[in-house]
Symmetry: C2
Subunit: 174 residues, 2 copies
Amino acid sequence: MPTPERTSIDAIVAAGQEIIEVDGPAGLTMQAVAERVGVRAPSLYKRVRDREALRVAVATASVDALATELEAAGDDLSTLARTYRTFAHAHPEGFRLMFNAAVPHEALERSAAPVIRACATAVGEADALDAARLFTAWATGFLQMELSGAFRLGGDVDRAFEYGLRRLLASLAG
Amino acid sequence: MPTPERTSIDAIVAAGQEIIEVDGPAGLTMQAVAERVGVRAPSLYKRVRDREALRVAVATASVDALATELEAAGDDLSTLARTYRTFAHAHPEGFRLMFNAAVPHEALERSAAPVIRACATAVGEADALDAARLFTAWATGFLQMELSGAFRLGGDVDRAFEYGLRRLLASLAG
DNA sequence: ACCTGAACACCGTTCAAGT
DNA sequence: ACCTGAACACCGTTCAAGT
């Protein structure tokens, strides 16, 4: 006898995204997600293989959301960098999880594409990939350090970000 | 009646470092550490407050080890970058944990000092901190992406590292 | 003083039984 | 077909009792 579905993979992932921002990555338990979507924990196994798959699904949703924002930001590297930073500030735990779960390659590629395209414009096709990696590595590392409090002491973090961005753009232009 | 100590905080932290490299961060359980140092799990609570404190202690040990290697590397930014990368390759899980645990500020400062000093030589005292943040953010982000497999496809990763390093040094020189 | 077994709460996961 | 309670294994943590 068929029964109506009481939740969905989308609702489960959305619940996971909300939970990590409130309770941190350790709060992402099967029971917390189940309670939030209104089922019992065992029911989640109809939609996700295990907790690790749920972590990956939540991380992938974050990468997809980031990709959407980057695509809307256009081809300007400064705008892309600031969009990236705004995203990280808005969803710090989702941002962190992106680098702590095995996000499928297609999702990563989609979020990388706008940066690679902008770099191709700046340095030409031949060096576009290397330049995009330079740019993305800097932005990612900066945000990770900013969020983890590595910049706790000294200096203006906004100024350090703009300094890095300016230097990088100059380097790519040179 | 006093009893002889059957383990030590150093042995516990060393066991934790070994465990994460073999079994990953999820393998760092109180029971696994206890077994490795030859006591029962409850005994660990004589030396560490809880599992999170153990994670922090292991991460801090990694930062200290990194700082020691950076101090020995000298004042050349290229050498510092390659030393950092060699360290990350040798202890990938220890490297990742450094950014996923609340390492005390003094440890972070000690590992940052060699880079700040090298940057002061390169760009002067006024911009040394911003330059060090640019440099460290790039290297950290690059390694994190390299280790997490974000560079899985396309291009030579070694070449991308050297490309980024060259561009950054040029930028700081300019 | 440090160590341990026992106990408890909590979590991930499976599965037979419900609808 | 999906959902659930019950069950099991495993883990973090506490604590009284041992030496």
